[in-house]
Symmetry: C2
Amino acid sequence: MKQKKRTTIYDIAEKLNITASSVSRALNNSNHVNEATKKLILKTAAELNYKRNTLASNLRKGHTKTIGVVVPRINQNFFSNVIAGIEDTTYQKGYNLIICQSNESHEKEIKCVNTLINQHVDCIVISVSVDSYEYSHLQNVIDQGIQLIQFDRVADELETLKVINDNEQASFEAICHLIEQGYKKIALLEGPQNLNIFRQRKTGYLNALRKYDMPVIDEFIIENAWTKELGAEATRKLLRLPNPPDAIFASTSDFSALGVLEVASDLSIKVPSELGICGYSNEPFTEITSPSITTIDQFSIYMGKTIANLYFQEMENNETIVVPKIISIKPKLIVRSSTSRSPKS
Amino acid sequence: MKQKKRTTIYDIAEKLNITASSVSRALNNSNHVNEATKKLILKTAAELNYKRNTLASNLRKGHTKTIGVVVPRINQNFFSNVIAGIEDTTYQKGYNLIICQSNESHEKEIKCVNTLINQHVDCIVISVSVDSYEYSHLQNVIDQGIQLIQFDRVADELETLKVINDNEQASFEAICHLIEQGYKKIALLEGPQNLNIFRQRKTGYLNALRKYDMPVIDEFIIENAWTKELGAEATRKLLRLPNPPDAIFASTSDFSALGVLEVASDLSIKVPSELGICGYSNEPFTEITSPSITTIDQFSIYMGKTIANLYFQEMENNETIVVPKIISIKPKLIVRSSTSRSPKS
DNA sequence: TTTCAAATTGCAATCGATTGTTGAACTTTA
DNA sequence: TAAAGTTCAACAATCGATTGCAATTTGAAA
């Protein structure tokens, strides 16, 4: 590749017989430059097609106006929406985003975080991967003086800024809804319990059952059913039980719920009359399946915006100690056909 | 925010009573350092929790091992898949990605590109926004000596590396398929014709009709129907015609096709027997609508990988002139229920 | 005309890492 | 033992922009 020499402030200075400092000041619109020369400098800069070298500038200034984002998967609706939300508000403040995906791998997550530290980003926003078991790499971020914001899947033990969903409440409401629709034997597809979001959803499920004095049936709780395939498999298993459930809450994801729906469809089990199905995340497709799937909206784009605003807000309270702050967003139950039957037993 | 002083190579040097150059060489595993001191340096670096300042390093070295990506929307399946593909292969080579979204705005696209130039990325990968009308900002990228790779929506007039789909062929095959299924009056929902991808798809449509000696009916071609809402609206208009079409090719997107399907469903028009529907992009949801939607897969993840590999390949042919190269990926028609009727007229 | 302050501009250090050159210490060879 | 060659580390310049301080010019006031 041809590597043309880019024009620098020195080139401009030389051409105009002044020093680079004046050029720099003019470019930064400082008022310590004569208006006339400022105009001239700006004009010459445009002529020479000057582009500021952000690397040099950032090195000198000590900050990069860049935020690093680490998510398990970029191409997953929830995460790409959060990113879009973050981007939307950071862009307006002149910030850039460096986006990494951990591919749900703890190893890669560590590498991503380290790269971001090396890049001297001003802030790291992360949702941890499913198999993370220790968080020294995140502690490291804090130690390096970089603002750390966790969202959705957070490490509870780390005292950082957090933006989360109230998973327990959402899950609780979903189960209450099912019970009110007359379902009596509600199964739970749960996600990996090392992630707190899945633990919280389970708690919500148990609380709701308790509230209505319904028994907790162990074989109705299926571990690690968080993909479409695993959801389908779990469903087949559940429906083969001598006393099968009449509703399934796929607390892990809508994909899992989709697996449930497909199995029900294969077995000609009528949804919602014979089987109620509730998912989680409000993926776009849940609206267009037949029947449409009841699910929980996490306000993902709003969540992204909240994260960005939280960062800027903390930035402004300069000097003060970092107080661990948690912002909890209440998700919303979206009732659709897959759980809507007339409310009688 | 507390801003701790990070440890630098000077800190390590000072502690060990040597110069920073030796530290740098040790950290870069140069063989101009004594093995023993190298070990010592590495050990001390780890102790002091040293992290290389990539800014300084990049400034000195003149490249950043960073690729900038500009797409219309991050949270659109096709684009997020391409990004995931790029990320997958660049990550292995130690490259980073800076991702920007133009939000389909020409203005913002220009700003994104300029930011990336300022950031001294080594390469810019872009799919232009729908309302772009001139490409001086892209010419600028080339002038600054930055490798430019266009994909999918490309500016034909710019001689750059390009990775595209053979839209014309895909569209041609889709229409041939419809005709072979016995559809006789095929409408086209077309996208903004300033984007070449939509022009190509239209050409494919026209070519297929010509091949089968079928007339081109002007009122069957609807402009700018590239969202779900516009697709729905277009469909209502088409079906109100005295002589309505018996198939609709939503060449713009699957979202548009979904709009078609919903209107058909509202009007109780049977798909595929009374109306055939074909979309474009193979969005995940096309598989789970009822009926499932025939569409065209663009191999988006593979496309991303191809882009990344193309960059590395060009990098290696150092010194030579940049030859504009175009890689065309042949999309695949995915036949599903929405167009599958017994092949008789 | 002299004095002083304000407005501009220049000088030089700095951010942290890299790298070509130089020189000292050491090893090998004749 | 002396000459030649190696190895290793120090020195200093460099990447491009920023910024505190010093110096100069300008203009106004005395």
